[in-house]
Symmetry: C2
Subunit: 400 residues, 2 copies
Amino acid sequence: MSFDMVATFRPDLPPAAEPWQQPPPFSFVGGHNDADSVPFGGLAEAAVNVLRREGQALATYNLGGSPLGYLPLRQFICDKLGVRASMPVEVDEVLVTSGSLQALDLVNEALLSPGDTVIIEQATYGGMLSRLERLGVDWVGVDLDEHGIDVGHLATVLDELAQAGTTPKYLYTIPTVQNPTGSVLPVERRLALLDLTRRFGVPIFEDDCYADLVWDGERPPTIRSLDDGGGQVIYCGSFSKSIAPALRVGYLVADEPVIRQLLALKTDAGTGALEQLTLAEYAPAHFDHHVERLIAALRAKCTTMIAAVDEHFGDDVVVTPPKGGIYIWLTFPDGVDTGALSAGAAAAGIEFNAGAGWSADPAWGARRLRLCFGHADERSIRDGVARLAEVYRASTALDR
Amino acid sequence: MSFDMVATFRPDLPPAAEPWQQPPPFSFVGGHNDADSVPFGGLAEAAVNVLRREGQALATYNLGGSPLGYLPLRQFICDKLGVRASMPVEVDEVLVTSGSLQALDLVNEALLSPGDTVIIEQATYGGMLSRLERLGVDWVGVDLDEHGIDVGHLATVLDELAQAGTTPKYLYTIPTVQNPTGSVLPVERRLALLDLTRRFGVPIFEDDCYADLVWDGERPPTIRSLDDGGGQVIYCGSFSKSIAPALRVGYLVADEPVIRQLLALKTDAGTGALEQLTLAEYAPAHFDHHVERLIAALRAKCTTMIAAVDEHFGDDVVVTPPKGGIYIWLTFPDGVDTGALSAGAAAAGIEFNAGAGWSADPAWGARRLRLCFGHADERSIRDGVARLAEVYRASTALDR
């Protein structure tokens, strides 16, 4: 008789993954990017050059260097953040991670225990919510407006938590190209947010994964760079959005003692060296030009998607044009349930992110949804949105 | 005043990493490999070809395919295991991991809770011991002889645990090129081990990371392949030892329901695609020939190291020649403390793995040590061993 291995597993695991299926024809989920913009020729050239020059170093873990990551890549990250994000960074303040998801996991492992509380944005990255849930961590959401986090509401939340005797372990914020709302937090709010959280002794976890994709270079200094007192902000970024998501290279930036504590938790013997080598070889000469072209392609798709939403949904939907990135966030009238809508959409070959999974309060998110435009081509965007509107009208007609 | 972020961290973290330092002149630690054998030209060619052909797929997570890993790589793993390890495997029984360390972490996460007990080999991989310690898991060691795990002692251990009411969560074994002793478990013992653990309802976690480096192709079928009842064995392997450790590509093999449960725990959005693409392009035509050459290079270094140990340590040390791999395991007379020796060795520019950290019982391991020969060149091996013998004689002279 076959041994039942799964019966020996812990009882508290998440459900097993379903067998993989090809995505449907109109797939508007996930951080996928524009296929025509992948600089694969440049990456191929970089891979060959760096392997022929330094390939022997693959014989040693971490290429024989620091476990913080390949030094030329960390140097590029410093240079990039200095120029693009107004943030001076030293190479030993950078830890290269296996995607920014590992960055989230390392920070969470360092800070969070079951029963802890964190502050998040009212609408936020779904992958963070699922992580917090799995860790048994509670959260409180802070309101967002079209510019990002509402500092007045943050003050209320901090006060209420303090009165309840709860010190939140961090404030998790996506200030630049907020996910999923696409806002960019103005510099005055960044300063106010720093001031406020410092008074309450709350660290900030600044997720800047989409920040390289700001439409027109209007990128305020990072919150971390504005932290005059110092030490209050852990920052993370990624090459997934600017180069390619299938490459798994992200990074954490924090003060050196923090980085070395996080490094002690990174027990994977280093992030893939071939990806680090290739990026470090490619990026210094090509990153800026590539990102400029990528942004133009994404912005065109965004315009197409918003026009299609306007055309087919009309007044039924509010969409605030994002300041960059690969997604738009739609708000439907009261009573609409985008979770229910997603079932009908799936039958019509459409997938999107229902708002409940991207919201601190699922009830608040129920009439919202995220539509990603990065990967679909222009025609699929137009046809998919039109078809989604049909599904929506059919469902609301049924409701009436 | 600067914010003290580290003070907000959990109190139970491992110590922060020390600032990185260049390895000493005679470094005999770590799974590093022979630099002259890295097939970087072939990898460069493969990277170019596959990027030019399939580079656009980098725009999607998991290259637009299954999160189990790039299909041609999983197919190669199946083909390789079928031929080299006598193990038929289906592609959906393979989960590509970010190195075999992630494989260890996924299996541990699925099976282990604090206070659990596992069975390990008397001498075993130090990275597994540190993981178990961090997880708050107890272990019981089983004796090894020159052929590997002692099945008679395993029976005693299983009986004693059963009498104490403890069901161990798994038996972790490295049957082929055991780490650190270099033995290869004969097929009869593999069958006996399966029979015995099945009677006690204990799963087997078979770590085959070094198995491609068996000196002369005498590789018995894997334990998993011998599991007639089915379902009892989770298997892991790696390309770190056969191709390059800085590439982070390993794999788990188990029944499909087990693989899908483990996949649900792999929340890193996939293993690096460039490394998967490049390996899958390189390996089918080149793996066998490359490994044959690599083994010849490693075997020559092993011979050099054993000869140097014989010459300089003489009767003070027992070393059993390994059947493959990149390390030898030395046993010193009673009373020697290789932990203390390592401090003196460090002052002389030598590093090795003291036995306590690679042993179920640190007291048993105290007079043992692991010396890696994969990365050092022949001259460093000779000079380093000679110098280590000097340090050893000086320390034993002091003791007398």
